[in-house]
Amino acid sequence: MSTITILVLEDEPEVRAAIARDLEPFAGSFRIEMADAADDARSVIAETLEADGEVGLILCDHLLPGLRGTEFLIELDHDPATAPMRKVLITGQAGHEDTIRAINEGGLDHYIAKPWTAEELHTVVREQLTEYVLAEVEDLLPYVNILDGPRLLEAISERGWDR
């Protein structure tokens, strides 16, 4: 089984460090990669896919140099290779219209407003990763302890019965 990557796209180093720190509870089971620009995020995704890995979740800032976070999320959603990735916008500044568009065009799964709390971030990441593994991963057992255990166990038992 390959390790699922959580990708953080955030241009400000202080904020990036804070998100990384808050993601530490997931560091044992997931690979956490940082990108400070959309281009760099594309590289990380490409390298991950090349190494037969998968990016399960992206946490993306909205105000990025040269690109809006929503635009990038929509771009990822339109590419079959990255479409399954769960996409979360984490920002203090997305305009109403940008957000609506991102939701309508399917790019956005969740929205976290800055400043966030560790608990809030954990909840969102856990939920989104749970959705991802339910949809994309066959062996759910390794994730029962770190993600939404009851849901995963339910799914395991359903799948077990199916077989």
Binding site: P13, E14, R16, A17, A18, R21, E33, M34, A35, D36, A37, D40, S43, V44, L63, G66, L67, R68, Q93
Partner: protein
């Protein structure tokens, strides 16, 4: 030239003729010549001929030898209004003098000589009337008497000898009074001559002495006296000329009044526009003042927690250092803390490359990840720290170092974030000028940067190009000038919607001036709009107003002008440039910012 005036001389012989001719020699001129007749029959015939031809006979000289006892020739002469000179007459000298006067007058009238005053012409006419009508009666009118009435038929003229007459016309419920010189002393003349009803009412202002001359009397007089008709025409022409002149003068006067009215109307319209402008400016400056207070309040509220965070970060550092001092491997953990506090964060791509390189070097990806995360980038650095440790000891050491590294990172991030907040607060305060606005040395570049910081979130994909050159500071109101930059930048960004290039530039075109240009690559301003872009209320944003921003180009121009500067715009599709030029001296000491 046809004869205008002929002196007839009746003389029997040549000696007598020559003697008489001597007496009138001085009277003969180009228009007056002497003609000789031999007796009463010839005199009468000649008088009739001359009268029919319109020639005036001012004087008939009769040789006493020729005159019959019943004075036949004398009667014939006086019938046509001529003076008669008889050598034997006791009044011969006076009659000659009268004749001289009449002839001179005629001469001057014929020549169109302006030497004859209106009064003299009128005098002459009165004399002729007196002569023709045998000195008609003088009538005294009390003040207020209406001599003739507007739109009523006129049956004669009034020759005013003494007193004042007022002429007026009733127009839309008001009496329009004419200049007294319009008519002169002969009232009703033009109406009579033109066979029209009176154009105005004539009323005696004072007691009036006048000669009423009926239409019939005038006819009679005109038949009797050729010279009367000449004077009458002269008077009439002069009167009409006067009226014409008066009309021209009035026309000129009306034109001048109309021009003055137009100027006043423009001034009023201007004043109204300026008032409206002032009102808008007051509203805007009120808004800015409110914004300023708001920002000042928020800034104050923010500064306290920011100070606490900054200080707290410093205290944390000190306390952690003290705590670490008692740590068994204090050198190692303190070094880790110090690295985290002082190393600049790496670009994510760079960090990945370092991890990759170190993983290759050490042959251990997980270890490489941890080391790079601790700011250790080389195998040698790793060896220094981990040499001779067992795997379990190594992990414990790394755990500890990571703890201290994260502490250091957190402190560093606290500090840098707090100072970023502090700098934003400072910019906000400086932008909104929470402080009372004073004349200061203003840096155009700083103002532009502060405004850009506020508008940063609007930039999106728009590329920003800064082309600042070193320019001297200028004297002005920094907050007001910031409004100028913010407004122009905001307009430029709005013009480009999503993508394009925003270029801000400064330069000093000469030592006394600074110039700032803001160029966008938007669709440009239509030529018909360009002329009125600085007008009040003109907007292409469908009336959208943003609080504190987009103050309108009118206000922008006002501020620039208050700084004795100029603002220009050049636009074509794909490139619009606003150029603000400000004198280094800027505002005068007497100027006050609108906020004061």
């Amino acid at each position: 030239m046809t004869d205008r005036s002929v002196i007839l001389m009746a003389a029997a012989d040549s000696i007598e003729r020559d003697r008489l001719r001597d007496q009138v020699d001085d009277l003969t001129t180009e228009v007056v010549r002497v003609e000789v007749v031999s007796g009463p029959a010839e005199l009468r015939a000649r008088l009739q001929e001359l009268s029919a031809a319109g020639t005036v006979v001012p004087l008939v000289i009769i040789d006493e030898e020729l005159e019959s006892a019943d004075g036949e020739m004398h009667s014939a002469a006086t019938e046509v209004g001529a003076a008669v000179l008889q050598r034997s007459s006791p009044s011969a000298a006076a009659e000659l003098e009268t004749a001289r006067k009449r002839i001179r007058r005629l001469q001057r009238t014929f020549f169109g000589d302006s030497g004859l005053s209106d009064d003299e012409v009128e005098e002459a006419m009165i004399e002729e009337i007196d002569r023709a009508l045998d000195h008609p009666e003088r009538v005294v009118y009390p003040p207020g008497t209406i001599l003739l009435e507007e739109n009523q038929p006129v049956d004669g003229i009034q020759i005013v000898m003494a007193g004042r007459v007022r002429l007026f016309r009733h127009v839309e419920g008001h009496d329009v009074i004419f200049h007294s010189r319009t008519a002169g002393r002969i009232v009703g003349l033009s109406a009579t001559a033109l066979r029209q009803p009176a154009a105005f009412t004539a009323q005696a202002v004072t007691e009036l002495t006048a000669i009423p001359v009926s239409f019939e009397q005038l006819e009679t007089a005109l038949q009797k006296s050729q010279s009367l008709s000449i004077h009458l025409v002269d008077v009439l022409v002069r009167s009409l000329a006067r009226r014409n002149l008066r009309t021209v003068e009035q026309r000129v006067h009306i034109d001048r009044l109309a021009r003055e009215l137009a100027v006043e109307r423009d001034q009023l319209a201007n004043a109204l526009a300026r008032l409206e402008q002032a009102q808008t400016r007051l509203i805007e400056s009120e808004k800015m003042a409110t914004l300023g207070q708001l920002v000042a309040g928020v800034a104050h509220e923010l500064n306290n927690p920011v100070a606490a965070i900054e200080r707290g970060a410093d205290f944390l550092t000190e306390d952690i250092e003290r705590l670490s001092a008692v740590h068994p491997r204090s050198d190692v953990v303190l070094a880790s803390l110090e690295r985290a506090r002082t190393q600049a964060p790496l670009a994510t791509r760079e960090e990945r490359e370092l991890r990759r390189d170190l993983a290759t070097e050490l042959g251990d990806g997980a270890l490489a990840d941890r080391l790079v995360g601790l700011g250790i980038h080389t195998g040698a650095g790793a060896a220094d720290l981990l040499e001779g440790l067992s795997e379990a000891e190594r992990d414990a050491r790394l755990d500890e170092m990571e703890l201290y590294y994260r502490l250091g990172r957190s402190v560093r991030n606290l500090r840098s974030s707090a100072s970023r907040i502090a700098s934003h607060v400072k910019s906000l305060r400086s932008y909104a000028r929470a402080d009372r606005e004073k004349r200061t040395d203003v840096s155009i570049e700083e103002g532009m940067e502060e405004s850009l910081m506020l508008l940063n979130h609007k930039l999106g994909d728009i590329e920003l190009v800064r082309a600042y050159s070193a320019v001297p500071p200028m004297t002005g109101f920094a907050g007001e000038l910031n409004q100028v930059w913010t407004n122009l930048l905001s307009n430029a960004i709005q013009a480009m919607t999503d993508t394009g290039t925003l270029t801000v530039a400064t330069r000093a075109p000469d030592p006394g001036h600074v110039e700032a240009t803001i160029t966008d690559t938007g669709p440009g301003i239509a030529e018909e709009d360009l002329a009125r872009i600085f007008d009040l209320h003109f907007t292409t944003k469908e009336g959208r107003v943003e609080f504190g921003l987009g103050l309108g180009l009118t206000i922008t121009r006002d501020i620039v002008e208050r700084h004795n500067g100029t603002i220009e715009v050049e636009s074509r599709p794909g490139q619009t440039t606003f150029r603000v030029t400000l004198p280094v001296d800027g505002v005068d000491a007497t100027e006050h910012a609108t906020k004061d």
